[in-house]
């Protein structure tokens, strides 16, 4: 019960803290807009994202706000639909990354035994393989389903998360209140949940934004390469790639998805930065 009260109090101060800087205000505004477009945009789409409506690569006009794409579908409608897949997959990937990487980091940082080097060295091996290579390998090996995409992205991002969570845990676990709880004989679960986790949540939240924007970039890149989400599904990354052929006649077919993708990533980063700054401030004033 008390933890719920804390996180509630916490989330309110987080938002007001983020809103204290200009970057934070702009970022949060952009974030709300792009999230809204990505998640609910489809309801406002004037046309179906799959229907061929006219001349491929037609410029804006004729009721088509952003013109038509390389096979004559409405770019604006596809734009409104095309964020959902990336956002949902990136969200899932981030959650998965954190549940696996966070757990590894927590256990490694808290164990003070041989488990720590064993876990961290295996994580380091993963880190030494180039990110895109891992994804390409997995996708070509297991097919380009959404599940594979999410798994591959989290596998790539997981080592970094494990390292950050480990070092935060290591630092917190030598503090007096954790030692007092160990001396009291608290079970490991209570130590981690009551004493360690709430006190690394700041760093974790700040890092979460960063990982999220990386997953968006990774997933969009894979989609652009054509090995992720398959046509005819509307997707921003995929749209940029498939409309290359009509860049001369209707550049909006490429510019529009690029802009919303950039907006989304910039927004996540701005909010993350503002949050970190607010975190520094509150720990500095202590």
């Amino acid at each position: 019960m008390s933890t719920v009260a804390h996180s509630f109090r916490g989330s309110r101060t987080v938002i007001s803290g983020v809103l204290r800087t200009n970057g934070g205000r702009i970022g949060l505004g952009l974030l709300v807009i792009t999230f809204f477009i990505a998640l609910f945009g489809g309801f406002f789409a004037p046309y179906s994202p799959y229907e061929t409506l006219g001349v491929p690569g037609a410029p804006p006009g004729n009721g088509h706000l952003l013109g038509l794409d390389f096979i004559g579908r409405d770019v604006f409608s596809r734009l409104l639909y095309g964020g959902r897949s990336t956002l949902v997959l990136a969200g899932l990937a981030t959650i998965l990354t954190y549940s696996v990487g966070g757990l590894i980091g927590l256990v490694a940082g808290f164990s003070r035994s041989k488990i720590d080097p064993i876990l961290m060295r295996s994580v380091d091996i993963l880190l030494s393989v180039p990110a895109l290579l891992v994804i390409l390998l997995l996708v070509t090996g297991f097919g380009s389903g959404s599940l594979v995409l999410v798994l591959a992205t989290s596998l790539v991002l997981m080592p970094g998360v494990a390292r950050i969570v480990r070092s935060a845990t290591l630092e917190v676990s030598t503090r007096g209140y954790v030692e007092a709880a160990i001396a009291r004989g608290e079970p490991t679960r209570a130590l981690l949940l009551r004493e360690v986790l709430p006190n690394i949540s700041g760093i974790v939240t700040a890092d979460l934004g960063l990982r999220f924007s990386w997953s968006i970039i990774l997933i969009a890149s894979v989609n652009f390469l054509g090995i992720g989400i398959q046509p005819p599904t509307p997707d921003w990354g995929l749209m940029i790639s498939e409309n290359r052929v009509v860049i001369g006649s209707n550049p909006f077919a490429i510019v529009a998805p690029s802009v919303v993708l950039a907006m989304l990533i910039i927004a996540v980063n701005l909010v993350g930065d503002a949050y970190v700054r607010q975190l520094d401030r509150s720990s500095g004033s202590e």
Partner: protein
């Protein structure tokens, strides 16, 4: 009284404040002459560091000098560029922490030579001079030593390099900010001797910031006492310390523990004034025992009350002398009673750290007994293994061998392997007040947890126990709803003690619990511990590096040197007649206010 040529630094009515906010220091006027050490003393938040930094026109971010004049060697210094010119040339600075003050990638000779850039462009000449400087601060003036990096030096050597760098450009004034605070007493004594030599032989003028009156007594020609951003008393060291006229100076002296006189410390009531919320009258009035009605409304002036002795207190005549003799042996009177049962019996304990580089022995052959209601102190310098021993007893350091008995029952290495009853009976209080408490838990939650986990109290019973625990450590009951960030360091440490008490323990292991606190706060914590011993019959294992604190609290002392007990015995006997060479050295190095005042008294008689 001061010829103008003699004065190398003069602050005249200096005010430093937050822009459009409260002032941090105000009306600061002081004079520093060639070949003189002036000590700025006061507790944290008194404005002593701000004052010292203003000597070279520097302020912490968000602060600015908004009034007053800074005169260096007869010249009034104004504006950022003029100050930039005098920094490092006319005025140099020795910061508190030598390990972070030196650039780790710079050889020490380069670090020193670097400060002489404005003097000569010739690299060879600067290097030769830098080596010479090493010799001047008592370090080997060899090329080999000069080639070393900071990490290859001890803390004391690093601080000497900082002093050498500060002196290299022949400054008129050296500002030292707590230069010995992080160092061991033996090293501190050597550095202080060095500073006195520099003053006497080379006529260096020093502005020395310290919180330690005993250090000030040892080196100061004049003492400036600050409180709440104002100078409250100023005068020749001997005059101020033998006849303190401001109640705050007197209170600080009476709260300072001293290894030469084992006495119960006097506690100053209240908390230090908040600069954002000063009372309209005297800033010290809320804590002052001599307060009259006028103190609350009229701001007192700094006035001459004796030979060169300025006091900011109209009631100064009523300030009593510190009564050293009357309180002597108050702590020692509660002598160890051998008939009391032994609670903790430690025999031939050896503890080691296992690192990747191999095994480091932290302590070995440790044997001692702790009886019911008794206080045993473990004294030693950093690295002597005292904290490791504390952690072994608390079940936090599993790699040890030997015997550890709690009332005859052996204790397991890990806390978790001990029975709940054993864990309840041994509690530990940690060093740092900043991380003693979980920032996410309220005081009430922090105190209720051990009561529930170790004594099996219900949630309701624990809640009422929280109230009595807060009362026991003299905090208001409304503090149960506060979070650690809303508490001062001393209050946090009291909550940490209350958390230990929540288990209703037989033994409390206190690991340097007052070393991060101001003396007036420390005195209250020590008083609290003495009361707890009396009222609850708890035994204390008190770990400290401060012999004065030992004299104030402990019945028995164990002196640790490099993991071995080199001497042990009754506190009063051991402090008065040490036999081991190391103990003698420690006692000889530790500064004593009482001894300094005694020496002045003797020279007058």
């Amino acid at each position: 009284m001061t010829s103008p040529t003699d004065s190398v630094l003069r602050l005249e009515g200096v005010r430093v404040g937050v822009r459009k906010g409260p002032t941090v220091i105000d009306e600061v006027t002081l004079d520093l002459r060639r070949g003189e050490i002036v000590c700025l003393v006061g507790e944290s938040g008194s404005g002593k560091t701000t004052t010292a930094l203003s000597a070279f026109g520097y302020c912490a971010p968000a602060l600015s000098i908004s009034a007053g004049e800074i005169v260096i060697d007869g010249d009034v210094i104004r504006g950022a560029s003029q100050f930039a010119n005098i920094r490092g040339t006319e005025v140099s600075y020795v910061p508190q922490n030598p390990s972070t003050a030196l650039n780790p990638s710079m050889r020490v000779v380069d670090a020193i030579a670097d400060t002489m850039r404005s003097h000569t462009k010739d690299d060879k000449e600067r290097h030769a001079k830098a080596l010479e400087m090493l010799g001047r601060v008592g370090l080997p003036a060899t090329a080999e030593f000069g080639r070393r990096f900071p990490h290859q030096l001890s803390g004391g050597q690093q601080q000497r390099v900082c002093i050498a760098a500060a002196l290299a450009s022949d400054p008129k004034v050296v500002v030292l900010d707590e230069p010995t605070t992080g160092l061991d007493v033996v090293t501190q004594a050597r550095i202080l001797t060095e500073l006195l030599r520099l003053r006497d032989e080379e006529r260096v003028a020093m502005l020395y910031v310290t919180h330690d009156l005993a250090v000030a007594a040892q080196i100061a020609d004049r003492i400036v006492v600050m409180y709440g951003g104002y100078i409250v008393e100023e005068g020749p060291a001997e005059e101020v310390l033998r006849r303190p006229r401001h109640p705050y100076t007197r209170g600080l002296m009476a709260a300072t523990p001293d290894h030469v006189t084992a006495r119960i410390l006097e506690v100053m009531p209240g908390a230090p004034v908040d600069i954002a919320d000063r009372p309209p009258g005297c800033p010290f009035s809320p804590r002052c025992a001599l307060k009259v009605d006028a103190c609350e409304t009229t701001f007192p002036e700094l006035e001459l009350k004796g030979p060169n002795h300025f006091v900011r207190c109209p009631e100064w005549v009523r300030t009593e002398a510190v009564d050293w003799a009357g309180q002597v042996a108050a702590a020692a009177a509660e002598a160890a009673d051998l008939s009391k049962p032994v609670i903790l019996d430690i025999a031939d304990l050896s503890a080691e750290h296992r690192t990747r580089g191999g095994v480091v022995v932290a302590a070995s052959g440790i044997s001692f007994r702790l009886r019911q209601g008794e206080c045993v102190a473990l004294v030693g310098e950093s690295g002597s293994g005292k904290t490791t021993i504390a952690r072994v007893i608390a079940g936090l350091h599993p790699t040890w061998s030997g015997q550890l008995l709690l009332e005859g029952e052996p204790l397991a290495a890990r806390a978790r392997a001990r029975t709940r009853e054993q864990r309840r009976r041994v509690q530990m209080v940690f060093q740092s007040p900043t991380d003693a408490l979980n920032p996410r838990h309220s005081v009430g939650q922090a105190l209720a947890r051990p009561a529930m986990a170790l004594r099996g109290l219900s949630r309701k019973a624990a809640a009422s126990e929280v109230q009595s625990l807060l009362e026991a450590v003299r905090l208001p009951s409304r503090y149960a709803n506060r979070y650690p960030r809303e508490l001062s360091g001393g209050q946090r440490q009291r909550v940490a003690i209350a958390r230990a008490l929540a288990a209703d323990p037989d033994v409390i292991v206190c690991d340097e619990i007052t070393s991060a606190l101001d003396v007036s706060v420390q005195a209250r914590i020590l008083e609290l511990l003495l009361d707890l011993r009396r009222d609850r019959n708890v035994s204390l294992l008190f770990i400290t590096h401060d012999l004065g604190v030992v004299a104030a609290v402990a019945d028995e002392v164990l002196v640790l040197e490099k993991g071995l007990i080199c001497e042990s015995g009754k506190t009063s006997t051991l402090l008065a007649n040490p036999t081991h060479e190391y103990t003698k050295q420690l006692l000889h190095s530790a500064p004593s206010l009482f001894e300094a005042i005694g020496a002045w008294d003797a020279s007058e008689a």
